[in-house]
Amino acid sequence: MADGPVAELLLRRLEASDGGLDSAELAAELGMEHQAVVGAVKSLQALGEVIEAELRSTKRWELTAEGEEIAREGSHEARVFRSIPPEGLAQSELMRLPSGKVGFSKAMSNKWIRVDKSAADGPRVFRVVDSMEDEVQRRLQLVRGGQAEKLGEKERSELRKRKLLAEVILKTYWVSKGSAFSTSISKQETELSPEMISSGSWRDRPFKPYNFLAHGVLPDSGHLHPLLKVRSQFRQIFLEMGFTEMPTDNFIESSFWNFDALFQPQQHPARDQHDTFFLRDPAEALQLPMDYVQRVKRTHSQGGYGSQGYKYNWKLDEARKNLLRTHTTSASARALYRLAQKKPFTPVKYFSIDRVFRNETLDATHLAEFHQIEGVVADHGLTLGHLMGVLREFFTKLGITQLRFKPAYNPYTEPSMEVFSYHQGLKKWVEVGNSGVFRPEMLLPMGLPENVSVIAWGLSLERPTMIKYGINNIRELVGHKVNLQMVYDSPLCRLDAEPRPPPTQEAA
């Protein structure tokens, strides 16, 4: 069955023709829009080798609307000439005629009319000749009759300048029989159906070819958030390395666990209102482990455990102040304190990844809350070399192999090291983490044995994610303002795989 009545007609005409036919001519013969024929040509083309269609463009001269009018009613000058009676016509009156202005000057230059300026009531126009030939009308009628080629190049261009004639390009198809020409072509099947399979009719049916350049339809699915996919990978890495996850499900922390237990003095700038969110309600911690608090107090204010201390008036009120934890190290401190209460001491490897909060100035890379990744190892006789060795293994799993270490200052670690990695894209060393050995002033008051060292490191979850995926603004990654399309489109997180080349901008 043919693909619509026009296609059917076309195929019949084509069968009868010798050689082929032109789509425009066929449209004229059938008295239908050219577009309808073109549509039929295209649908037949899609069937494969039934027809061959060659796109041709032909130039044609067509009359403009004004040209049509002149072909019908005569040129302006002719109309002026005809409107002048033998006794002449006042020029002012002639000018009011529809063709007056244009027709007057043309008729003048054709010397068909003259003006008598000495007439009593103003200039008057008279015929000069008795009759004339309206050449313009005749030529336009030729064009209308499809005989534009009978006009000379000069004549055509003159008419075009008068905007009576326009050249148009017509796209037509020259249609000829294809290698599989048939007037009784059947429609190609688009898809295999259960009926075809059961009847076996698929064997006799032609199938429409697939367009493999088109996109598929994405599956209707849910998606995981990219930052949390990275979090899963970090968890996986720690678990692979034998690290146990610490509980961190307490956003609210006392200053004691967040700062004092870490030997961070009470005047430390981090404890400033400008850097930390304190709580109005509940403003103070209800319980603190008072024995331990006393040891912490003494270490801060007087020293002990081999330390000079900070020598200041340590206040319990300050330690009681509740806040939103500024780091997960507060959870590490709790975990180490619990560890210290268990005798005998058993070595541990701990990790955590969770939210922390800072009352900081917000910018493209800083939000008031972010995720901190932390790793801790407690054992007898751990060294700085051990810390570096663990860091090397950890970062290798992230696909970061070029590391170097810079001395740094941290209130609760000594020695402290900032970890830098060479970023191939940015062509520079970038800080990827902070690390150190917890101070004895932090560990000994907890009750950990003296020869136990605790090495630890931390990094933010957002920063490596942003660097990895070339995201410049943290707001494009976290929070309610993210574009869900970004979530839908985000690839799997494979930290040790080479990322695709980042977008043109550099990560901040």
Binding site: M246, P247, I252, L286, A408, L484
Partner: protein, 589 residues
């Protein structure tokens, strides 16, 4: 981390050699500093105020160097140079000496009125100093750096430096009613009372930050000389009378504060850094401070302390095997003069007054490691054998997340902090009913409370994504916080799972189906028996009447589901019907 800005050429001149930027960057890195930026005054002004303003400014190259927050001895060119020269073994660390004056010792008498506002003061004299413009600038800049860092923006300690030749001792440090204090302050042409000054400085971009320290106190601290000349009104401003200039030869330095230890450290730092320019290099003239109890102390302390550390302890902590002699040499390079004593394994370390940061053997260990070079240390893996465990709540969360996505819902990640409006007004609940924890110092309304429900975050996520094709199906599994007096801090996290369905129809059956799926995943059977689950008609201000049910599982209420109230939808700037589900997953552990 404080940043010190020094003129490059001046620095190289003092170091006795030049470096390329890369070489100097490398040196900084090794020493624990960071060459943060290479710039000039002109560049800085042009960046901040445009090229026009920068036209006349100096284009001398400046190095901006980040200094560790506890190394107050590196906060000026003099200290940086001394530290680096000793590190590179080009000079020996100078010995700082306190000397008694030939004539009468300068005295600072503290009266008891200061007790309630700023009880401590220390003082010293730099005699026969020779400033140049650069040295003078560095002297002023060091005070500023100290004020911003160890002095905690002058709250703990404030420094006053005076031309001793314009004054006559003994000096009195007292506290008076602001209306009774009158003097001509620095950079003013006439006298003002303290009250007037506090008003004037409210609009001073620099000084306005310090006013709060004394503003509401009945008495203000003030220092007079024996003729009643005001030296300073700490921690705000010095008097104009005793102002120092580049030509000043004898300087009286006073530090007042609320932290005695820090006041002493600050004084030690200033005098050790700038006694370099005194006629008798590295000597400081003592001053006597008489406390209200009548006891007098001599300052600066310039105390040298001896610490004893065993060489094998250093080796063991760092993970290296150096001889005691080598370790002593390494420490000496860090400005800690050390020698091997006793059985040949003991190292005696002298802590100079410049190194107030050394308070424990671990600080000494770190310096040995820095001098050895962090990047020269052999990396090894500890033999610590452990079995890893996941935190059960996080393990369950991870499992559920994947199946929520498999059920066609997309994971959102929203903030734990939000406005009161988000968790109360917009949900039709009174804030007091939320049991939310409140933040006392939020900079904006976005950080007023910790969320008590995950729903607002998800609704805000939808509001920001209204252009996305419908339906929107979102979920989040994260913590919310509720006040709870049974915990040590008075608040507790709960792990919630929240899901929303947003479309042209409310889709309650979809959210209900999701609940059934979740229960299936958690192996909780329908029905009230044997810890199963059931939903019962309920109500809540956030839900459309008659379209809300409470979820009971494992014998307790775990949350609610329903069609959101049109008011809630409108308040979150949404236009379509929406149904939601929120449960606490803790009971399913």
């Amino acid at each position: 981390m404080p940043t010190v800005s020094v003129k490059r050429d001046l620095l190289f001149q003092a170091l006795g050699r030049t470096y390329t930027d890369e070489e100097f960057d490398e040196l900084c890195f090794e020493f624990g500093l960071e060459l943060d930026e290479i710039t000039s005054e002109k560049e800085i002004i042009s960046k901040e105020q445009g090229n026009v303003k920068a036209a006349g400014a100096s284009d001398v190259v400046l190095y901006k160097i980040d200094v560790p927050a506890n190394r107050y001895d590196l906060l000026c060119l003099e200290g940086l140079v001394r530290g680096l020269q000793v590190f590179k073994e080009r000079i020996k660390a100078p010995v700082y000496k306190r000397v008694m004056p030939d004539g009468k010792i300068q005295k600072l008498i503290i009266t008891e009125e200061t007790a309630k506002i700023r009880p401590f003061a220390v003082a010293a004299v730099l005699r026969n100093i020779k400033f140049t413009k650069d040295r003078y600038d560095s002297f002023i800049e060091l005070q500023e750096k100290l004020h911003q860092n160890i002095c905690r923006k002058r709250a703990l300690v404030a420094i006053g430096t005076h031309d001793l030749d314009t004054l006559s001792g003994p000096f009195t440090y007292t506290a008076k009613r602001p209306s009774d204090i009158k003097f001509k302050p620095l950079n003013k042409t006439k006298e003002y009372t303290a009250c007037e000054l506090m008003n004037i400085y409210k609009t001073d971009n620099h000084l306005k930050h310090y006013l709060h320290i004394i503003e509401n106190k009945p008495l203000y601290p003030v220092i007079y000389d024996s003729n009643g000349v005001v030296l300073s009104m700490p921690p705000i401003i010095n008097g104009d009378h005793s102002r120092i200039t580049v030509n000043t030869r004898n300087i009286f330095i006073e530090c007042t504060g609320t932290d005695f230890t820090k006041a002493k450290i600050v004084l030690d730092i200033i005098v050790t850094m700038f006694s370099e320019y005194c006629e008798n290099q590295f000597t400081v003239e003592a001053a006597e401070v008489v406390f209200p109890n009548g006891k007098s102390h001599t300052f600066p302390e310039l105390a040298y302390r001896k610490e004893m550390v065993r060489a094998d302890l250093i080796n063991k902590k760092v993970g290296i095997r150096e001889t005691p002699e080598n370790l002593a040499k390494l420490l000496t390079r860090m400005y800690l003069k050390s020698e091997v004593i006793g059985d040949g394994n003991q190292i005696e370390i002298e802590i100079p007054p410049t190194r107030a940061d050394i308070i424990h053997a671990c600080d000494i260990v770190e310096d040995a490691a820095i001098a050895y070079g962090y990047n020269n240390i052999q990396m090894t893996l500890p033999k610590t054998y452990t079995i890893a465990n996941q935190f059960p709540l996080n393990k369950l969360t991870e499992l559920l997340r994947h199946d929520m996505a498999a059920a066609g819902f997309t994971e959102a990640l929203t903030f734990a902090l939000c406005s009161q409006e988000d968790i109360a007004d917009k949900l039709g609940v009174d804030i007091s009913a939320t049991k939310a924890v409140h933040i006392s110092n939020p900079k904006t309304a976005e950080f007023q409370v910790a969320r008590t429900t995950l729903l607002p975050g998800l609704l805000k996520t939808i509001a920001a994504n209204r252009k996305m094709p419908l339906p929107l199906k979102l979920f989040e599994i994260s913590d919310i916080v509720i006040k709870d007096s049974n915990t040590d801090v008075g608040a507790k996290n709960y792990r919630h799972l929240c899901a929303v369905y947003y479309n042209k129809n409310p889709g309650f059956e979809i959210i209900h189906g999701l609940l059934d799926r979740i229960m299936q995943l958690l192996d909780v059977l329908p029905g009230e028996d044997k810890g199963g689950y059931v939903i019962k008609a309920s109500e809540g201000p956030a839900f459309f009447p008659g379209r809300c049910a409470e979820i009971f599982a494992r014998g307790q209420s775990v949350g609610k589901l329903g069609v959101l109230h049109p008011d809630v939808i409108t308040k979150f700037e949404l236009t379509m019907p929406c149904s939601s589900l929120e449960i606490n997953i803790g009971p399913f552990l």
